[in-house]
């Protein structure tokens, strides 16, 4: 089992290394020299050259890469060009709305998606299945920003039930702040429930066709017990996996929803960094977000190893 965990850990580091490498070299493909970007249009050639030297940009690319990798490995993601502070700090300041948004929307998605998926697998081909599968497909076809705009128009502008946008005034209490998340989390929850519904349905169908479910029927157990204990027991782990990974992807994937609702989260930070060509922030955000995904993935693997008797021994 320890060997397994060690192997996972190595794979996790490899993934992070590849992400970092990809991010570094792709950024260098970008048009425009980082130094001149930093100094703006008025800078003289001499100023630019000076800055290039300070940042080591005059060194060969591979040397820069190694130096940068070292920095990243030691947890230093660099300075933001525009925000005048370390990238990590900038991300930290924006973490709260993103974290809560991801949390609430995945909860909503799971609460809708898991029961819907189970129901549509159990009543496969019947009306319940057609309705649940159809709604899931519809939800997966709706652009989140469009649904967000419509919800905003209806529930916030017309009905005035929720704040239109933002994350409350500075100094607003936690409840006030969370109140601003109701609409965006609902939108994101609906859109993501589609994936969870389909995945739950598919894994449930797989398990329901297993021989041991037939054995459970031959034992004379009531149908609800067969579904809850024998079938669900065997689909729980994959469902938890997909919920966990979706949550991880929402940390960076909520960009559009954050933009629609003007939430000062990580996604918003990334979009403004892209528009301002603030490359250190983009690089840093990508690495942090990939890191969160990889860590959650690893955690799920470890839990899986602990829970499933077939992996344990």
């Amino acid at each position: 089992m320890l060997v397994n965990i060690a192997r996972r850990l190595a794979a996790m580091l490899a993934v992070m290394f590849i992400v970092a490498t990809m991010v570094f070299f792709l950024t260098r493909l970008a048009p425009g020299d980082p130094a001149s970007l930093m100094l703006g249009d008025q800078a003289t050639a001499a100023d630019v050259a000076q800055l290039r030297k300070t940042f080591g940009l005059d060194q060969p690319l591979i040397v820069q890469y190694v130096l940068w990798l070292k920095e990243v490995a030691s947890g230093n993601l660099g300075q933001s060009i525009f925000l005048q502070r370390p990238v990590l700090q900038a991300i930290g300041e924006r973490a709260e709305p993103t974290f809560f948004l991801a949390l609430f929307s995945i909860l909503i998605a799971a609460v809708i998606g898991i029961p819907a998926g189970i129901a549509s697998a159990v009543w496969r081909g019947r009306h319940a299945d057609q309705v649940a599968s159809g709604l899931a497909m519809l939800a997966a076809s709706i652009p989140s920003f469009w649904l967000g705009l419509l919800f905003m128009q209806f529930f916030a502008v017309r009905l005035g039930w929720f704040p239109v946008a933002g994350y409350g005034d500075p100094g607003a209490g936690l409840v006030q702040r969370l109140y601003h998340l109701v609409l965006p989390a609902t939108v994101l929850g609906i859109v993501n429930s589609a994936l969870i519904t389909r995945f739950t349905r598919a894994s449930m169908l797989d398990v329901l066709s297993e021989d041991y479910v037939r054995t459970a029927r031959a034992k004379g157990l009531p149908e609800h017990r067969i579904i809850l204990r024998h079938a669900l027991g065997n689909t729980l782990v994959p469902i938890i996996t997909v919920v966990g990974l979706t949550a991880a992807l929402l940390i960076g994937g909520a960009i559009i929803t954050e933009t629609v609702f003007g939430l000062p989260g990580i996604g918003n930070l990334v979009v403004s960094a892209v528009l301002r060509r603030d490359y250190p922030v983009i690089q840093g955000a990508l690495i942090v977000i990939a890191g969160i995904y990889v860590i959650i993935n690893f955690a799920i693997d470890v839990i899986y190893t602990l829970v499933d008797p077939r992996v344990k021994t």
Partner: protein, 334 residues
């Protein structure tokens, strides 16, 4: 001669599967009986309908597509009363499964739930049918594992299926089946997936339990060697119908139906000496699929004794001397 009422008496069973476009009848005209304390082997090749028949008895036909469209399945319960399983309400049928009728399957590797210990899986059934408390049910589970000759049963009860071999898992399945003292055990190809030396152990085990518990066994198999080993009575199916039934000695010594004769003759062990010293097996031409859409005798397209009448009229299942039944219009002259 008055025979005691059979434990299981299937009469003219017909099973239909309906899908949106069409309906098929994989089983029709199936009649067979299983007596208490005896083993009836149900023999047939793939597509003969033997497994569908067993699922119909268990009330486990895939829903909503499959249903019993005609016939009766009379079963004598522990209480002594007989009920027709074909017309029982689903919740009543559910309570009979596992307690009155138990079933074991072909694939021991996949028939047990991988995330529950084998003890839990047996205890679950015991608790559900007897209302025993958890610890008593677990003790019963351990006792059952001992009954099926699993060494170190108390420890084994805490193991998961993947920690056991195929033969061991089939023993667990048998322990599970026996845990509520069923009157009837349906064994659907229980040794097909096992090695011969393990198969011999499992066959001996089932036979011992049948004797000790006065239990009826419906043993479904395609293997005539196994039939000769375990059966008291044999029912042969072809293309969804029963074509012949007899006690095991009569069937092997004096098979009356051309299909039964051919099936026994095409065994490698019954090969005949051919030219140049080699032995040749006698084969049946064609495949089972050739029975599709046949209006007369289903076996006529492959039969060596076909008359014109065989293609036209569908023979009925007739009872001849000694309780042997046969579905062939030429049985008198063959």
């Amino acid at each position: 001669m008055t025979l005691p009422a059979p434990l299981l008496d299937i009469e003219n069973l017909e099973v239909t599967f309906r899908t949106e476009e069409n309906s098929v009848t994989p089983v029709r005209g199936v009649s067979l009986r299983v007596d208490a304390g005896r083993t009836t082997a149900l023999v047939g090749e793939s597509g003969s309908g033997k497994s569908v028949t067993s699922l119909a008895v268990m009330g486990l036909l895939p829903r909503p597509a499959g249903s019993i469209s005609a016939g009766a399945i009379r079963f004598r319960m522990k209480s002594g009363e007989t009920s027709n399983l074909a017309s029982l309400a689903p919740d009543v049928m559910q309570r009979l499964r596992g307690s009155e009728i138990a079933m074991i399957f072909q694939e021991p590797m996949t028939s047990l739930n991988p995330v529950l210990t084998v003890g839990e899986q047996i205890a679950e059934q015991v608790r559900y049918h007897t209302g025993m408390n958890a610890s008593a049910a677990m003790r019963r589970a351990e006792e059952m594992l001992g009954l099926v000759e699993i060494p170190d049963a108390v420890r084994r009860a805490t193991e998961y299926p993947h920690q056991m071999s195929g033969g061991m898992r089939q023993r667990v399945m048998i322990a599970l089946a026996m845990s509520c003292n069923p009157r009837l055990l349906i064994a659907d190809e229980p040794t097909t997936a096992l090695d011969v030396t393990i198969q011999a152990q499992i066959l001996a085990l089932i036979d011992r339990l049948r004797k000790e518990h006065e239990m009826g066994v419906l043993f479904i198999t395609h293997n005539l060697g196994v039939v000769a080993e375990v059966a008291d009575d044999v029912t042969v199916m072809y293309a969804g119908e029963v074509v012949e039934s007899a006690d095991v000695r009569t069937l092997f010594r004096n098979p009356r139906h051309p299909y039964t004769q051919a099936l026994i003759n095409c065994l490698p062990a019954r090969a005949l000496p051919g030219a140049d010293g080699r032995r040749v097996v006698r084969s049946i031409p064609g495949a089972v699929a050739s029975a599709a859409g046949v209006s007369g005798c289903k076996f006529a397209p492959r039969c060596a004794h076909t008359l014109a009448a065989c293609h036209v009229s569908h023979p009925a299942l007739e009872t001849i001397d000694g309780g042997q039944t046969i579905r062939c219009c030429r049985w008198r002259d063959l």
